[in-house]
Amino acid sequence: MNPAVRRWVFVAGAAGLAAFYLWGLTGLPGFGSYPGPYGDIINRVAVAQTNATGVVSAVNFAYRAFDTLGEEFILFAAAVGVSVVLRHLRGERQRPARDESMDRNVAPTSDAIRMVSLILVGPTLVMGWYLATHAQTSPSGGFQGGVMLATAFILIYLAGEFLVFERISPLAAIDAAEAVGAGGFAAIGVSAVAMGLPYLTNFLPLGSRPGAVSSSGTIALISFFVGIEVAAAFVVIVSELLEQTLLSRQESR
C-alpha cells in the first residue's frame, strides 16, 4: 500500500471515528454541569474524614490508595523496563562522549546555560521537596514533587558533563531510593494489616486541625514515599537514555 492510499484510508476511517466519538461525547451531561454524585460526596466528607484539605490528594492517597499503589508500580516497572531494554549488549563498549558526525561544529555549553542551570538547582530541589511533602494541604503531591526533584538532577546534567551527572546520581544509590519509595508505600499498607485493619487503612493520628502539614496521617507519608520513588524512577530513565550516547557497537568502529 503506498503512502497516498494509506492516507486516504486513514482519512475515511478517522472521519467516521471522529463523527461517532463526537456524537458519543455530546450525549454526556453538557460541559459545566457536572451531575455528581461521587465528587460531591467526597468533597463534602473528605476534609472531616481525613483532615486533608487537598481533596485530590485524599482521593489519590486514601480513597483510591490501592489504585495509586498500582500506578506507582507502573512507573517502577517502566524504569526497570527501560534499564532492561537499554542494557549493554554484546559487542557494545563505553567510549568517551563524542559527536557522531565529525563534520559539524558543536559549540561548547555556554556559560549562560551553565549559570542559569546551577542557579535553578537549589530552588528546584526546595520546590520539589515542598510539593512532595504538602500533598495534604495544597495542590501538590508525590508525583509532581518527584518529577521536580528529578529535574534538579537533569539541570546538573545541563550545567556540566554527563560524568558529573553520573557521579552525583550513582545508579546503586538511585536504585536503592527507588526501592525504598516503592516498598515504603506497600509497607504502610502492610502495617495497617499487622494492626488488624484493612490494607492501606489510614492508621496514623490525623492531627488536630485540617490543613496542618502534620495532619492527615498516612496521606502525607504515602505522598512522601511516592515522591522518592518518582524522583528515582525518572533519574534512572533519563540516565539510561543519556548513557546510550556513550555506547557504540564495536564492529562499527
Binding site: R7, L17, L28, F31, Y34, V56, L75, F143
Partner: protein, 114 residues
Amino acid sequence: MGVFPFVVVTWILAVGLYGIVTSRHLVHQIVCLIVVQSSTYVLLLGVGYRRGAAAPYFSDVSVHTPAVDPVVQALALTDVVVEAAVTALLLAFAVQAHKRFGTLDPQELVQFKG
C-alpha cells in the same frame, strides 16, 4: 458552548492519529501518541467541570463551597503517570531500533523482521 470542549477533545485525538499514521520518524510518532493521550486529559477535566465552582481544595474556603469533581482530577494524574511510563519505554525501544537497523523511519522499519 456546551459541546465546545468535546469538539476540542475530538480534534486533539484526530490530529494525533493523523500524525501517527503519516509519521516518518519514530520519535515524532511517539510525540504524536502523547498528543492522542492529551485528549483524554481535556475529556476527564471537562467531564468533572461545574460552571462557577472552585477547585477541590478547602484550605481557606468552607467545605460547603461548590467544587469541581476531585475524582476525575485524580484520574488525570494517573493518566499522566501512565503516559510518562509508556513514553519512556517507547523511547528506549526507539533507541534500540536505531542501533539495530540504523533507521528511525517506521515505513522502512516494517521491512525488517525480528
